[in-house]
Amino acid sequence: MIRLSNICKSYRLGEVLLPVLKDISLTIGAGEFVAIMGPSGSGKSTLLNIIGCLDSVESGSYHLNGIPIDGAGDEELALIRGDKIGFIFQLFNLIPRINAERNVELPLLYAGIARHERKRLALAALESVGLGDRALHSPMQLSGGQQQRVAIARALVNRPDIIIADEPTGSLDSLAGREIMEIFAKLHAEGKTIVIVTHEEDIAAFARRVIRLRDGRIERDDIRP
């Protein structure tokens, strides 16, 4: 369970302090499928990064599954990021010099799993996104949609409870985007908590709950029945 209370975050731009998130309080329950929307610069990515434990907050508190994130040390944060959260990015963020299978293996490598087991799990994850036959391809040899599916396999390989995706379809054509969203829908059906940032209404339509940000505040928070 994700629980944010009175989160503030600002960036310093030279002399001025630019507030990006202003007093955000938000709770996302286990198994929810949430889309965060809002105009560019409204703070969507910043909020998502905080939820994903990639960024720190300035004030307010954040508890993930009851654990306070603000006080966590480097190793504890590394464990949370590795075990509890799977990340998917707009630009896929695959490491170009290693093949698809090794890319998918990375979270397992940092999770302390033995080489043989890593390979087995990574191949299974690639199968699950329909890329079992592309394991030895380098990222450069894959289409955008395929690359994003490798990234999803990588996000899933550690069986995290929470999937976090920042504009996962933003670099894809609508067909590939649709395929990606279908995977998300399936993951949601399996009980994963999913939080995505998007500015496309038809992508957001996959989610059960849509949070709209404007100027660093929650403007609307709609739950569809």
């Binding site: 990064n49 994903g52 990639l54 960024d55 720190s56 040390g73 480097d74 190793e75 504890e76 590394a78 464990l79 990021r81 590795g82 075990d83 990340f87 990015f89 963020n93 490491i95 010099r97 290693i98 990375l106 979270p107 397992l108 490598l109 940092y110 999770a111 302390g112 799993i113 033995a114 080489r115 890593r118 990588r154 550690n158």
Partner: protein, 418 residues
């Protein structure tokens, strides 16, 4: 909460490091070169210093490593005491030392040169010059002198005052020409007739050869006769100095003190004596060599340091270029420590490869120097270990700062970086 490294983590990260270095081939090669040159320089210094050691030893050996010499300290003439003239060593002293059978002594010879004059020598109508020395039967062996022709002095040559001479190659050349064997020929030294019984093999005239008991004289210009005969010729009754050979190099000092003790007893402490040993010269030259090596090592270290700076530069660039990747790895669960290990591994890999190449280059340089200089130069194996350790150390140190910086980044900072 503590994270455990995966089994095989290092191996996998190592594999990725290799790939990363391959991605930046030119840069990698350049920084490897930096280390290679540094290590090769260190190795070469080690090899050359070891070779220098060998040269000095073999050079000194031609003068007898275990040789010692004892003479009166001429500075002991105290104006308030009765003036004591003389060399402080008489024929009786020499006989007494021989009779005493000092355990540290193996060989003993008097050396008499009078006023150190050069003597005119003549054979038929040919003339030459020689440094004349009256010596005992052990002289040649003590000085590691070998003979090109003929034989050494025998005890009876000395005791029976035989008019025999052993000549240096310069004297031989002047009187007989370089290629003829003069043994058995009669030459004139001053007024007297001597039979040549031997010709000394030539000795090096180098700087190193000029030290030691030969006291700056040219070893190849010597004219050796029995000391008894020399004393008859000149009317000089004393011995200028005693030369001896100790049973071993460490016994040289004992041999000297045994000789001096007997001399002092015989002269009721009226003289003081000084001594020289090859061991002292060895110590001195080794000291000089140590400094030369040290300077060489410092110079080589500078180039190693420059190589290290190269690695640092390259690692910094590599970290900068891969900031996004570092952010990604952290998002995927990498801890600060794991990122640090990855980049340190890359730095060590560069310096290790550079170190190995430098080693090979250094060893090859040593062997080719040996080949062309005909000096048996050999790599100094401790230096090999030291340079490997140093190259890995350089990698660690120069990789640490950039790696530490990379590891400390917040994932989001890394992502925002373009």
């Amino acid at each position: 909460m503590k994270k455990k490294l995966s089994p095989g983590f290092l191996l996998d990260i190592f594999f990725e490091s290799l790939l990363a270095l391959r991605d930046n081939r030119l840069r990698t090669i350049l920084s490897i070169l930096g280390i290679t040159v540094g290590i090769a320089a260190v190795m070469t210094v080690g090899t050359v210093s070891k070779g220098g050691h060998f040269i000095i030893f073999s050079e000194l050996e031609t003068f007898g490593l275990k040789s010692v010499w004892v003479y009166r300290d001429q500075a002991d003439k105290d104006p308030h005491r009765a003036v004591r003239a003389g060399t402080g060593i008489e024929n009786a002293d020499y006989a007494a030392i021989r009779a005493a059978g000092c355990p540290a002594l193996r060989l003993l010879s008097p050396v008499v040169y009078g006023r150190r004059d050069k003597m005119l020598v003549r054979y038929g109508n040919k003339y030459g010059n020689g440094q004349i020395n009256g010596v005992g039967a052990d002289y040649l062996e003590i000085n590691n002198d070998t003979l090109m022709y003929g034989r050494s002095f025998r005890e009876e040559d000395i005791s029976r005052n035989r008019q025999v001479a052993i000549i240096g190659t310069d004297v031989q050349r002047d009187l007989f020409g370089p290629l003829s064997n003069p043994v058995g020929r009669d030459i004139r030294i001053g007024e007297r007739k001597f039979t040549v019984i031997g010709v000394l093999a030539a000795k090096s005239r180098d700087f190193l050869a000029s030290i030691g008991s030969s006291g700056g004289q040219d070893a190849n210009n010597r004219l050796l006769v029995p000391y008894t005969v020399f004393q008859q010729m000149t009317g000089f009754k004393d011995i200028n100095f005693l030369q001896a050979e100790a049973i071993s190099l460490p016994d040289a000092d004992t041999a000297v003190s045994q000789i001096i003790r007997i001399l002092k007893r015989h002269h009721s402490d009226r003289f003081t004596y000084k001594s020289g040993t090859m061991a002292q010269y060895i110590r001195t030259t080794e000291n000089i060599l140590k400094w030369v090596t040290f300077i060489g090592v410092v110079a080589a270290s500078v180039s190693l340091f420059v190589g290290g700076m190269g690695i640092m530069n390259i690692m910094s660039t590599s970290v900068l270029e891969r900031t996004r990747e570092i952010g990604l790895r952290k998002a995927l669960g990498a801890s600060r420590k794991e990122i640090l290990i990855q980049f340190l591994l890359e730095a060590i890999l560069i310096s290790f490869i550079g170190g190995i190449l430098g080693l090979i280059l250094g060893i090859l340089a040593g062997y080719s120097l040996a080949f062309f200089s005909h000096i048996p130069l050999e790599p100094s194996w401790p230096m090999v270990l030291v340079s490997m350790a140093v190259s890995i150390g350089v990698g660690l140190l120069s990789g640490y700062y950039p790696a530490h910086h990379a590891a400390g980044l917040k994932p989001v900072e890394a992502f925002r970086f373009e």
